[in-house]
């Protein structure tokens, strides 16, 4: 047990006074990240100004065996930055400078606390932008994006964070500064850059990021298509891909999400449709016009009941506003909601949505679905009321069942939000013991005393044994009717 006041005194010897937060009431704002159902008050919060201070903090914590949880903007949805009660919460928010926009090499060098959107804003005068655009992009930090391998609505064409980061400067738990990746397109040795991207703060602390920038497309245009059946919408997505079109964005929403969004932002969505698709195309003017024409044709032939092209930039933004605000919109129609993040092979969409519908009836909880249709990433939003005793637990059980279904049809429990603490039990459904053991062994290569973000992302085998005992009822696995992948 570490004593809060004694430790605060020690940290104040190495950091300016305002960097050390230890009074109970000032610690409260840090007790959770974007997944507010889980809360813990950290022992201490540190807000260093630079990488040298991060080095010192980590060296000290390593020596004293104090757990460290790194935090960006705290927008994460899986509890990845949930504090450790006996540990330091290390906020990188003050490392927030854009160090260089390199037009010649189309790269930007930024500190981890820089907001995602700020990179594109800074690059705009050079005709460039940073492609990954998670929905939280006005608030989320690049460091957090790296930790989670964040996606967004444009990943089908432009990739995830992983595909847009060239180099990381990290600090190891024992305080050594290292560079992973390179200023060029590839780097020597094993691909530690890929390993660190999406590692949820378990392997090291990122203090600088070199990202790729892309030329801003001359024109973007979006088509909205309505369907009276969700499976027909799914087939239309497959048809677009089959015809060789790679849209910049391809999103689907079900009826409950459509209605919630329409009430909230008045995007002009058809509220009686079972599903809508938003298909965005970008590039030079003439080619966009040509491709939009092809997309419209495919959608009509695929059974859309209505196909609408945004009439101007304002309407295009409105169409997207509906989708990008789907989460808060659902928040308006329910006291609480719980957001899931499975990925499935796209052709399984019809089956998966049907089974989610059945679960919804069984649990007595409504569920709205938004879907990154292009890359198979499904976000079911389970509606519940935490004030009703037992409903949170019901929502969690419902969510767990959805994720296990995603695994059973050949997908994964998390496409872009990370495992964090939230999905740690479902990791047991996706990976077998030998695989989990390999993950733990990899962790030990970088953090032998498991001080970085302990207890997150990878479950212990004991935990899985207990979880398995809970879930294999009467010797039967869930979804026995499905082929296992």
């Amino acid at each position: 047990m570490h004593d809060r006041l004694t430790l605060a005194g020690e940290f104040r010897k190495m950091l300016p006074e305002e960097c050390v937060i230890f009074r109970e009431e000032e610690l409260i704002p840090y007790e959770c990240d974007g997944l507010s159902a889980y809360r813990k008050v950290p022992l201490i919060v540190l807000l260093p100004y630079n990488a040298e201070q991060v080095e010192e903090i980590l060296k000290f914590c390593h020596q004293r065996e104090i757990p460290v949880v790194a935090r960006g903007s705290g927008t994460g949805l899986s509890g990845g930055a949930l504090p450790h009660e006996q540990g330091v919460l290390l906020s990188l928010a003050r490392l927030n400078r854009i160090l260089q926009i390199d037009r010649e090499n189309m790269q930007a060098r930024v500190q981890p606390g820089v907001r995602n959107l700020a990179v594109s804003e800074a690059a705009k005068p050079q005709g460039l932008y940073y492609a990954p655009d998670p929905s939280s992009q006005i608030a989320c930090s690049i460091g957090g994006n790296v930790a989670e391998n964040a996606g967004g609505v444009h990943c089908l064409k432009y990739g995830l964070t992983l595909h847009n980061v060239l180099q990381l400067t990290i600090i190891t738990m024992d305080g050594e500064r290292l560079t992973l990746g390179a200023g060029s397109l590839d780097a020597p040795g094993l691909d530690l850059l890929a390993l660190f991207t999406g590692s949820e703060g378990m392997l090291g602390v990122v203090v600088e990021v070199l990202v790729k920038l892309l030329p801003i497309p001359e024109r973007q245009q979006v088509v909205l298509a309505a369907f009276d059946d969700i499976e027909t919408a799914g087939n239309a997505v497959a048809e677009i891909i089959a015809k060789g079109i790679l849209p910049a964005g391809l999103e689907m929403m079900d009826n409950l999400s459509i209605r919630a969004s329409e009430d909230f932002v008045h995007a002009g969505y058809p509220t009686d449709a079972a599903a809508i698709l938003l298909c965005e195309v970008d590039g030079v003017d003439a080619e966009v016009s040509e491709e939009i024409w092809r997309v419209r044709e495919i959608l009509q032939q695929s059974g859309a009941i209505e196909v609408r092209t945004a009439s101007d930039e304002q309407e295009r933004i409105k169409f997207w506003a509906g989708r990008k605000n789907a989460f808060p919109a659902v928040g308006r129609i329910s006291p609480d909601y719980y957001c899931m993040d499975g990925t499935i092979p796209r052709h399984q969409l019809g089956k998966v949505l049907k089974m989610i519908g059945e679960m919804s009836t069984r649990y007595g909880l409504r569920c709205a679905n938004v879907f990154h249709a292009g890359d198979g990433n499904l976000h079911p939003l389970i509606l519940y009321d935490a004030n009703n005793p037992g409903e949170l637990e019901q929502a969690e059980a419902f969510g767990g069942e959805i994720l296990e279904l995603c695994v059973a049809v050949g997908g994964t429990i998390t496409g872009e939000h990370g495992v964090g603490l939230e999905k740690i039990n479902q990791m047991c459904a996706q990976f077998k013991d030998e695989e989990l053991e390999t993950f733990h062994a990899v962790k030990k290569v970088f953090d032998p005393h498991t001080l970085l973000n302990p207890g997150k992302a990878i479950p212990t085998l004991n935990r899985c044994a207990e979880f398995g005992a809970m879930h294999v009822h009467a010797g039967k696995l869930r979804f026995p009717e499905l082929e296992r992948f």
Partner: protein, 355 residues
């Protein structure tokens, strides 16, 4: 299909036998990249029998195949559906397998726009040094469950395990490609023009520069091509499919020179000023150099640009082929080797001398 056979069991037995006696194995595909990397000693273990496409759903943009599947079989299957491997893997002089393409981590001319093997690798089924069959990643585009251990296999030169199966993201083939000649001249004049075209969103899919000659491959409609010619004062020639393939496979005269061939991976705008001719790809991000200069001189020159250098061909296979790592990174790499291959049986020394 040429061959469709699951040999996981016999491969597993071979690995267990080797691990029991700590006897190294030399993993072999078609040998198309035998010249590449350091020399490894060990009992040869052929992986080509373990072959065949397991699943390919064009509308999912994913193909899953056994590691020994010939590249040409995969490319043929994709081509029939108007799709391609976006990293344009080099075949060099022989056939090449998909496992070898991933393990070597090498990409062709399309790399800056299409991605690299690690970018496109979605998942692997791995046979590790304990004889365990492990799955990492999957067959879906987005997957952040657990550490990304599948991508660690891309470019690992087979030192961490046998790639029993790989799942790869594929993309539609551009319906039309064209070859464009840029005005003859010095690289210092061409690079700014090239950069202007990139910033302005010209759909380049390959670039080649040697001496005064500069070519681009573009993917666009005929109408757009005309517009580009007008806008930039450049000239299009009949599309040179064979030329771009020869560039990819290093069949051009430049690559037939005697002497050590260096592969310099650097930021595209970096300045490398040498008297030897340099062949540029990736709009400057990849440069090839045939030079007898000491390795230390070349490596330190490239390090200054924030890049790295590989002694690609005609070097000492017992020497340092890949760019040396900073000591702590080398230690981490050895730590990872220990996790996957505790007995050190897979391709020892092929990647770095000490693991």
């Amino acid at each position: 299909m040429s061959n469709d056979r699951d040999c996981s069991e016999s491969l597993c037995t071979a690995v267990l036998d080797a691990a029991r006696d700590s006897r190294p194995l030399k993993l072999l595909g078609h040998g198309s990249k035998a010249f590449y990397g350091r020399e490894s000693v060990g009992k040869p273990l052929s992986l080509t029998e373990h072959s065949g496409i397991i699943s390919y759903a064009p509308t999912e943009l994913v193909i899953t195949a056994r590691g020994g599947t010939p590249l040409e079989e995969i490319e043929q299957a994709l081509s029939e559906k108007g799709q391609m491997l976006p990293f344009e893997p080099p075949h060099f002089a022989a056939k090449g397998t998909i496992g070898g393409a991933i393990a070597s981590g090498l990409s062709g001319p399309r790399r800056p726009w299409g991605g690299s093997p690690r970018d496109l690798l979605l998942g692997v089924k791995l046979l590790d040094g304990r004889g365990q069959i492990l799955r990492f990643g999957g067959q879906v585009m987005k997957n952040v469950a657990g550490y990304d251990l599948s991508r660690l296999m891309a470019g690992a030169m087979g030192t961490l395990g046998i790639l029993l199966e790989v799942s790869i993201k594929v993309l539609p083939k551009p319906p039309q490609e064209h070859t464009l000649m840029l005005p003859a001249g010095d690289w210092s004049v061409t690079r700014p023009l090239l950069h202007k075209m990139l910033i302005e969103g010209i759909p380049v899919t390959a670039s080649y520069s040697l001496g005064e000659e500069h070519k681009l491959r573009l993917a666009c409609s005929q109408a757009r091509l005309k517009q580009i010619q007008q806008d930039y004062g450049v000239e299009s020639v009949e599309h040179q499919v064979d030329f771009w393939q020869a560039l990819r496979d290093q069949q051009l005269d430049f690559f037939q020179q005697q002497g050590p061939l260096w592969r310099l991976s650097i930021p595209a705008a970096a300045n490398i000023d040498l008297k030897e001719p340099i062949l540029c790809e990736w709009t400057g991000g990849l440069r090839w150099l045939v030079s007898e200069r000491p390795a230390s001189e070349i490596r330190s020159m490239v390090e200054k640009t924030r890049g790295h250098a590989i002694l690609f061909r005609n070097g000492d296979p017992a020497g340092e082929v890949f760019h040396p790592l900073q000591p702590r990174l080398a230690e981490m790499q050895k730590g990872l080797k220990q996790v996957f291959d505790p007995e050190g049986i897979f391709n020892p020394g092929r990647h770095y001398p000490d693991y």
